[in-house]
Structures are given as structure tokens and as C-alpha cells.
Symmetry: C2
Subunit: 225 residues, 2 copies
DNA sequence: GTCTATATAGCGATAGAC
DNA sequence: GTCTATCGCTATATAGAC
């Protein structure tokens, strides 16, 4: 639950006493609601998730959710915002000019695969949101994310000028890396069905990371090792 | 509207007089409903789409949809099935042992990008469905699609044995190609926002195909030209 | 702060006039 | 075959007891 302002708070109605003294029981209840909401929004999307289902998942009466978070939309925005913060972090950590393209891309891909493994619900909420045309985060995509990508492109350009990397369109490279790594969370049902396993295991994620790394490094014309 | 049986018809209730003589007005109405449904299910998903919205999109009263297609779920399954048929086609056309890996993969990637450009709604319906855990097509994924992929793997293995292709995990290669090509339909909102264009143009799809091809051919250690 | 009980709106589906 | 009117249900949201 971060305080960063990535999304405009656009609930016109009066939100309940939020960001207040925060007693221990309050914190615990909000946390439970938050966890249940992330899981259910991730599986069924915004419209597919009912407040009753979230309440049941959190082990609380329905009214408490409204007391803490106001409307369903308010709760959804809070969950979304929480996700966006974590989403941006990995890139700035790994795509840096003081690393080689191989180090950076390999680390970034592993971080993104780890995100799909450890927080699949977060990835799915983001996917649901964008799939519907990103009604809640259009501004974020056009500003914060756009600038974020422009900064990454600068690093890539520097690498390419230094002859460390083949001159491929780096914005599209990012789209490709995002889609390949996130597909292991978002399209999980398809992947386990095709592989014939009940769930993805450590080895599967290793294979995924290795394959994606091979494609990206190979496409950038960097030897795999 | 195909007759192929990819999905089990599991509506217990009595469906209205379907697959009947089919007069011209009937055909026209059903077509309009079908088009509106594909568009709206693609944007808002199954639960996010109301029968009233489909009726409005088709320019018909709500009751007519029920008359032609029975329940909302029946209509959805009909739309889904229609999509699955087209979805499988491209691979069998391009991944063939009598082609070189470069020809096959290049052609397949271009066909998949064309699908994202020409039938984005179809791609999005599939994405929505799988994202929710594939409740309607789990059997299809575990049988038809699984066998489909196993057949593709055989071609890849033959190519790899012949030394035409690097021995990377080819099932994961398929997951990667699917995700990269479909992201241009499914994550369209994100991509146009980052690129700063209102819609994706011919050149954007060209760049996408070129980038994906570079990654795949590079990762398989085949020279790009 | 917490929960029960309920108001209100929109949904899928259908009956029945035409 | 086509459409209007409506039923029954479930959803969000809240009022008010505790």
C-alpha cells in the first residue's frame, strides 16, 4: 500500500476516513481485503468480481469493505496503483548504462519472469485492464510509462552506438520482452494445458527464462554466454 | 460460423430452432449479432458484456438474440468456437518440414501479426478467456491444442536434427511467438500510448514483425537474411 | 468500529401481443 | 418471425442497530 500518486484519485463521493491513525485491527482488515481483491480481480477482472466474493475471501462482512475503501472502483484503483509501482521497478534496476547489454537484459528478463511467478495476480490485473482499453490507467500509460520507455531507449541507443548491440527498434524490443515474460502469468491456463502439467514448476520457469534470453540476446546479436 | 466441433455443446436448456432452412433475413440478423458480439466480448469480456449492449450494437431488440442463440453463454461459445478454428490454421500452413526454418518462422510470424491487425477482437476474446483460467476451453487446450503443439515440435525437432536450427525448447518458442504477436492486439492500448500514436499503422506492424522475426531467427541462430 | 438488513439498479431471460 | 413489457435475480451501496 504505497503513497505514490501514479493514478488520479477521481472518486467524487466522500471517501471514508482514510490514511488515519491506523490501529492494528484496521491495518489487518485492510490487508486481508487487499489480498483477496488482488487475487479475485486478477482471476475474474473488474466486472467479474463481486464485492461479496471479496468479502468472503477476506473473511469479513460486505459492509466493511465499503467502510474502508468506499466504492468498488476506489478499491480497484488502490489495487491497481499498488501494482504499477512494482511494475516499473525492475527496468530501472537492470537497464543501466554501466552494465553490459547482456548483463542488463539477462537480469531484466529473470526479474520479469520472477514477477510472473511470484505475483501472477498482479500481472493478470494489469492484463485485464489493458485488454479492456486501459480505462483506468490511460493517463499513466501515456505519461509515466511513455517517459519510462523513452529513458530505456536512451540506454539502448547508447549501447547500440557503442557497438554492443544490434540496431533493432528498442521500443518494440520492450513490448516483446514484456509480452514473453508476462505470458507465463497471464496465459498460465494455456501453458499448463499444453505442457500437460498441473502447475508451472521451478524448472518450467527456468526453461522459460532461458528461451526468452536466447531469443533476446540472439536477436540483439550478443553471444549467449 | 463453422460447423466444426471443437467445443462440447453443453447447453442443457433447449436451444431455439438452429441450423434450419435459414432465410435471408435470418442470416443477416445472425451475422449482425455475431459481429457485435465478437467486438463487445473482445473489448469487455464475457461478464463485462451485456445482452442489451450486443442488441444495441446489432441494431435489434434484445429478445431476438435469445431467439437465435439461446442463452448468453450459447452465443459466447459460438463466437469462441469460430475463433479457435482460425487460430490454429496459420501454424499448419507455415511450420512444415518441406520449408526451411527461416521461411517457415518468418511466414508464421507475419501471419500471426496479420491476425492481430485484422482480427484484434478475436485475439482479445481468446486472451480474456485464457486470462480467467480458460473456463470454456480447458478441454480444447489440453487436447486439440496440445496435440497441435506436439506436431509442431516434431517439425522443429527434425529441423534441429538436420542442423538447420539451434536446439532450444520449441514448445516455449511457440509460447513466445504467440505472446509477442498477440500483444499487438491484446495490449493495443498500452502500445499506442507508449508509441504516442492514436492507432497502429502499417509501418508499426512492419516494425513489430521485423523485430519479432529478428529475435526468433537470431535466437534460433539463423542469419536474418 | 462492526455487522445485519435493506434500498435501488441493472442483469439475463421470457411471456405474450402483433 | 419480431418486438414490448416484465419477471426474478444478483449486484452495489447504505442505513441504522449494536
Amino acid at each position: 500500500m504505497s503513497n505514490t500518486r501514479l493514478l488520479p484519485s477521481q472518486s467524487a463521493s466522500s471517501p471514508p476516513p482514510q490514511d488515519k491513525p491506523a490501529g492494528a485491527p484496521r491495518r489487518a482488515s485492510m490487508q486481508q481485503i487487499f489480498r483477496a481483491a488482488e487475487h479475485l480481480f486478477g482471476r475474474d477482472g473488474y466486472k467479474g468480481t463481486s464485492m461479496a466474493a471479496i468479502a468472503a475471501g477476506a473473511g469479513l462482512p460486505k459492509a466493511n469493505i465499503h467502510y474502508y475503501f468506499g466504492t468498488k472502483e476506489d478499491l480497484y484503483r488502490a489495487v491497481l496503483e499498488n501494482i504499477l509501482v512494482d511494475w516499473l521497478d525492475d527496468a530501472t534496476l537492470w537497464i543501466r548504462e554501466d552494465l553490459t547489454p547482456r548483463e542488463g537484459l539477462e537480469g531484466y528478463i529473470r526479474a520479469k519472469i520472477a514477477f510472473s511467478r511470484d505475483r501472477p495476480d498482479a500481472s493478470r490485473i494489469f492484463a485485464h485492464e489493458v485488454l479492456q482499453g486501459a480505462p483506468h490507467i490511460n493517463q499513466f500509460l501515456g505519461t509515466s510509462l511513455r517517459i519510462h520507455v523513452q529513458n530505456l531507449d536512451k540506454i539502448f541507443t547508447a549501447w547500440q552506438r557503442a557497438g554492443l548491440m544490434r540496431p533493432i527498434p528498442t521500443t518494440h524490443l520492450m513490448f516483446c520482452i514484456w509480452s514473453m515474460t508476462q505470458t507465463y502469468a497471464d496465459m498460465n491456463a494455456q501453458i499448463v494445458a499444453v505442457l500437460g502439467t498441473p502447475t508451472l514448476e521451478t524448472q518450467d520457469y527456468e526453461d522459460a527464462a532461458a528461451t526468452i534470453t536466447a531469443l533476446v540476446l540472439g536477436g540483439c546479436q550478443l553471444p549467449a554466454h
